[in-house]
Amino acid sequence: MSYLPNTDKNRQEMLDAIGVESIDDLFAGIPEAVRFRGEMNLPPAMSEMELVKHMTELAGKNLSTDEYVCFMGAGAYDHFLPSVVDHILSREEFYTAYTPYQPEVSQGTLQSIFEFQTMISELTGMDVANASMYDGATTVMEAALMAGRLVRRGGDRVLISDSVHPEYRTVLETYLRGLEWEMVEIPTRDGITDLDALREEADDETLTVIVQNPNFFGLLEPVDEIGTIVQDAGKAMFTVACDPISLALLKPPAESGADMVVGEGQSLGNPLSFGGPYLGFFASESKHIRRMPGRIIGETVDVDGVRGYVMSMQTREQHIRRARATSNICTNEALNALAATVYLSLMGKAGLREVAEQSLQKAHYAAEAIDALDGFSLKYDAPFFKEFVVQCERPAAEIVQSLMQHKILAGVDLGRFYPEMENSLLVAVTEKRTRDEIDEFVSRLEGSA
């Protein structure tokens, strides 16, 4: 990319055009007292060669899952990525991060998004899915906002289980602040949403109840029972956030009465990439489609009766409805959603089930072996999918640090999110882990006790 600086002459012309004397005049509105007058704390400029060397050194500090064996999860998972995914993504016809501005010209892109929506609908059991959103956290927040549109005349309470990803809850809290809605966190008992507490809190003023399944600790929530509690509460909508891989084995949330099924789609063909960009998926019932956030692609026929794809239901979106749009997210994570689509097509029904089964079985193999160690035990008894909490006798952060020397990423220290869980380690096992890797992990854990 070429770098074209403004010349002094350019600057003077621009200043003249807007009628100010100097660049400083542009900041006249900022009070003197709050202006920074010191020297910026920046190193001296580098030459290109020096800069490349410097950046390479910095990049060398990163740990990569090519080199390290990853048992970290907590919302982002080290599943196998078939190389075909990247090859298809990199095709110039597809290679854009954005929904095209002349969408109907890009039939291939629209078709891929339509297929993404279809596959998410099938996995979740819901009628309709959107073209994707930013990430898991934004889908949870959007579900709460959608509940506010769906529940007529009423309510300002959003109930969310403590076992939902802590970062999702933080994002939700940020969004609800402006609306002056109340966010009520439902405590857990033995790692699972406390149903008595939920029953007590779920009332006529409740817009939605949000749970995650498998939850943040990897455990399966009693989704059917929670669905019944939500239904009995009155008008409230039931939101279930889930790991799409788990849906190859678990009953679709739609069958437990979910009104909105959302979640993080990174597991589907997207690399960990240091935390993003990822994609969120968002599904609901077709009767609610006009209240849904995000883009939706529809299938239709042209004047000659030939199948074609279009952006549909755009009247919900910002460029048409402006302030009264259903969401301020009017794009999607197109490239990430494409990766998910390619991944799901490659895996197929049987392949996805295989991924889920292997993850489940390997996670249980690891959990049993760790539980048998002195100084380590499984914290919870509830059934789990591919992730579980290990109770340690010393801070989990220290154990993580210690196993790093052996090129093992032991898991996520739960003290980061729950101060009282300093000695708890969240361990994820995907289909990628071999028996040797798991055995090595278990023996290194034993050595670190």
């Binding site: 007529r152 005349r153 006009r290 009247t315 048409i320 409805r321 009264r324």
Partner: protein
Amino acid sequence: MSAMYPEDLLYAENHEWIRVENGTGTIGITDYAQDQLGDLVFVELPEEGDEFGQGDPFGVIESVKAVADFYMPVGGEIIEVNEELLDAPEIISEDPYDEGWIIKVKIADDGELDALMNSEDYQATLD
């Protein structure tokens, strides 16, 4: 042309009409408005008991080419909504002043009617 804008109605700038009878107002959109919107596909209606001020948006109408809000020509409480429209919004196009009515309101303040136009004045705004 006068048949398109009945004399017994009052009209708002935003192309709503209101028929006033015994403190109750029946509200719809004008022939001009439905014609501009084209083929109607969806309406979103308020609920009985909802209260709105004059000029507040109370619902949404969506056609194949546009979406628009309905605005209250006068403030008041919704006492009835035309639920037929939920399944068949095209009724508004076919019969905007009769079968295509949208809501009935209990008018909060008769004085607000003074701000509305008669048929002739409304038609003048369309030229």
